[in-house]
Symmetry: C3
Subunit: 343 residues, 3 copies
């Protein structure tokens, strides 16, 4: 059970109510009235709690679970232990996520504008907003309805936040337009000048950074991530993309829709990602490259060339996954051979 | 055109005025009175706007540009489309940078000390400063003339900021002396204790970190970068160096003048960089190493040895570029050979 | 000498007092009354100052040091220059660290609750706390005795901070329980939602993150590091572990006791580290792995498999150190061979 210090105790629901809301179905119709009071992991769930099995690696835990009910793929019915009520779904993890959202809805704080905030009189503030302590909002900013801005955050002059946007604590947002329902985590820096200068024997000359950061709807930007504004034209993050913590997005980068950018990735200036691209943790992408839609790049890879759509790449420098694996296998065999005393 | 929500509309200038200020010359003297109202990229520039061509990769864009005027290298005159007024420069990017600064000068806010700031009575505050909301300044700090400190930033006791220094939002500066005209971006942490402890079977013993961070003039330190203070002696960043976002600078690191440190680089304790060193993105440098002046290290490399001046290194672990490329070519050939069915 | 702008001048101590406090012994008993006024590095130490030699690489500096006294291993006595008083210890660095702590004790500020802080009336505040300007503390938080919270920091609802905890400036702590004597550096983000979502052709569904962050005693968490809370169950950092700057700790990661996690490491969700594990800088650890107690991973390695206890691994992907070195030597030889004109 989630710690009540931090999470509100959920309301009980019958399995009939649960399956109705998550688009799944009961394996045994007569379980419909069974009451579920919480969600939990397979290994800790108890009677009255709802769990799920998505990754077959955890089949052992499923076979021993004490959960009152469990969301599973139809293929897994045969492994169910006695006494566990089964909910069938083609996408058990998604169905669980939806159920967990019902038990633990995001609790937005009540509308409020803290007396310890500093809001420019020329800013436009929507209805139902929550503006916490020590927030600053600059001249001409437009804050949509039901926006939630947490403490110690600075919203620069002219910034536009769409409806239902949430900005975490200690964040800095300038030169940006952020779509509705997007969420910016604590410590994020959006809109500062990119790393742009002309090098010359007599010293560096700063190139004014005259663009913006354009963030779509339903985007998530993780803690302490940095997104520089465009040099000329904009830095763009497409709707539905999720960006993890400590990521660097250079100036004029364009990220498509529904991309996944895992922690500590760095994307250099002007590179472009198509839709549904996945960059695993600590990947680096050099500047002025194109990564096609649905391409995937393995963790820590260093991308120095364009990647065609739908391909999987890996390595330093990154290459198609098959080629990388051939290289790894070759090196591995040579070493094993040498170890056995050959020359 | 830069979004007027975020940037002040520039004043028009004649080409004669422009070339006078940027140290370039007109190709056709009779263009002197042509009025330029803005700067723009080659592919979006229109009549009345000034663009530039620096990287020959963009020659195609140049041949089709609708820009009213364009700064180019004399070698590129023959590719100019009709109707574009030409400005000749040996360093087109630098000339453009200078022009862009004229059209979009950095707009410092008016002098102000926010009533929502907390400044110790023993701090010395120069003239013409701008201290935004929720800034704290500790005892004995010395803030130079025309310094601009953005909101939610903490300047610790005893810190010295030179004239015209700018510190971004949500930054933390302690145990530091920062030269004039330097700029610290949002979320930077300067002067905290380095990672120093003695390991012992009975536990770790913290080593007091008794040094400072000494930052030269005209330095830039990017968003969410961390610079630890020296353990004994100082951490030093030389004048004119540019440091990008999310970089880690360990205790007692010495960075020379005019170095370029790209995003997510990490430099471990006591390593030293000569002048004009370039570390590309995500490079790691182990502790107690020396990287000679004008050396360059390719992205994601892991430096474990001293690098002589002027050399280019790459790889994990890093080695001279030529050697690294030989290794890459060899592996590549072996794999291609195997792919063709050889053993 | 440490800059008096930032550090309080230490009080003089006799060598007899020093050795008594650090558990070492004098080489020459008659040096007992010699007064030491400060600590310093070998190459800058002067008469009246205490230095140390731990790493034999610095033997040259030792042979020329002007230090008044020096802590060394008994094996190094023969290299001592004339006039330096010797303190013998089996662990010179640890003995020095302890001595430096005596000369420069951590100076906690006087108890205070800033009038510019915003503390919820339902929070419990211990005795002797120092709560700096612009701090926010949420409902139901419990702040132990002698806790020090620096400026611009947010302590979320329900958070528990043990006695003597110190939280740096501009930090964000939510959904967390932090043990006594632990220290959180500036800009740290603890307790935000982890990167959890179900992927589906129709879009991503956020998985509510219902766990906490449990931090032990005497833990250090470096500047701008991010620690996500558990998805279900907790993210755990064991007592005595030291985490450097800009580290990413994913949801449900478990870190044992006395681990060392160097700057810019990333640990993906649900991975577990035993006690005394060392991860060097920029290491990446994939999700759902186990790294055994006392294992060590070299800088920049990418861990994709479980690592047995006590082993040293390196590489991308990481492998046992010996295997990695064999591979490196092989490649190096092949290249040298080719360079000499062989085919």
């Amino acid at each position: 059970m989630a710690d009540p210090r931090f999470f509100k105790k959920p309301q009980a629901l019958s399995l009939a109510q649960v399956v109705g809301k998550i688009g799944a179905k009961l394996y045994v119709a007569s379980d419909a009235d069974y009451l579920v009071t919480d969600v939990a992991a397979l290994d800790t769930a108890q009677d009255g709690q709802l769990s799920f099995l998505d990754n077959k690696k955890y089949k052992d835990q499923f076979e021993k679970t004490k959960a009152g009910a469990c969301i599973i793929h139809p293929d897994m019915v045969e492994f169910a232990p006695d006494g566990v009520r089964l909910i069938l779904s083609e996408s058990p993890y998604k169905a669980y996520a939806t159920a967990a959202q019902i038990f633990y809805p995001e609790t937005r704080p009540d509308p409020m504008i803290s007396k310890f905030s500093s809001i420019h009189p020329d800013a436009k503030i929507g209805q139902g907003v929550h503006i916490a302590d020590f927030v600053t909002i600059g001249a001409g900013a437009e804050i949509g309805d039901y926006v939630w801005i947490d403490s110690h955050t600075s919203i620069g002059a002219g910034v536009i936040l769409g409806d239902y946007v949430r900005i975490g604590n200690n964040a800095t947002v300038s030169h940006a337009v952020i779509g509705s329902h997007s969420r910016v985590y604590p410590g994020v820096r959006i809109g500062q000048d990119g790393f742009g200068f002309a090098i010359d024997p007599t010293g560096f000359v700063k190139v004014p950074q005259l663009g913006r950061v354009m963030v779509g709807d339903h985007v998530e930007i993780g803690a302490n991530t940095t997104v520089d504004r465009g040099a000329s034209g904009d830095t763009v993050i497409g709707s539905g993309s999720w960006i993890d913590n400590l990521v660097q997005i250079g100036h004029n980068v364009k990220i498509g829709r529904a991309c996944v950018i895992v922690a500590q990735v760095g994307i250099a200036g002007s590179s472009e990602l198509g839709d549904f691209v996945v960059l695993a943790g600590q990947v680096g992408v050099a500047g002025h490259l194109k990564i096609g839609a649905m391409a995937k790049v393995a963790a820590q890879s260093g991308v120095t060339k364009n990647i065609p759509a739908k391909e999987e790449w890996m390595g330093y420098p990154a290459m198609p996954m098959k080629r990388y694996l051939r290289q790894s296998v070759y090196l591995s065999k040579v070493i094993d051979h040498k170890k056995e005393g050959h020359n």
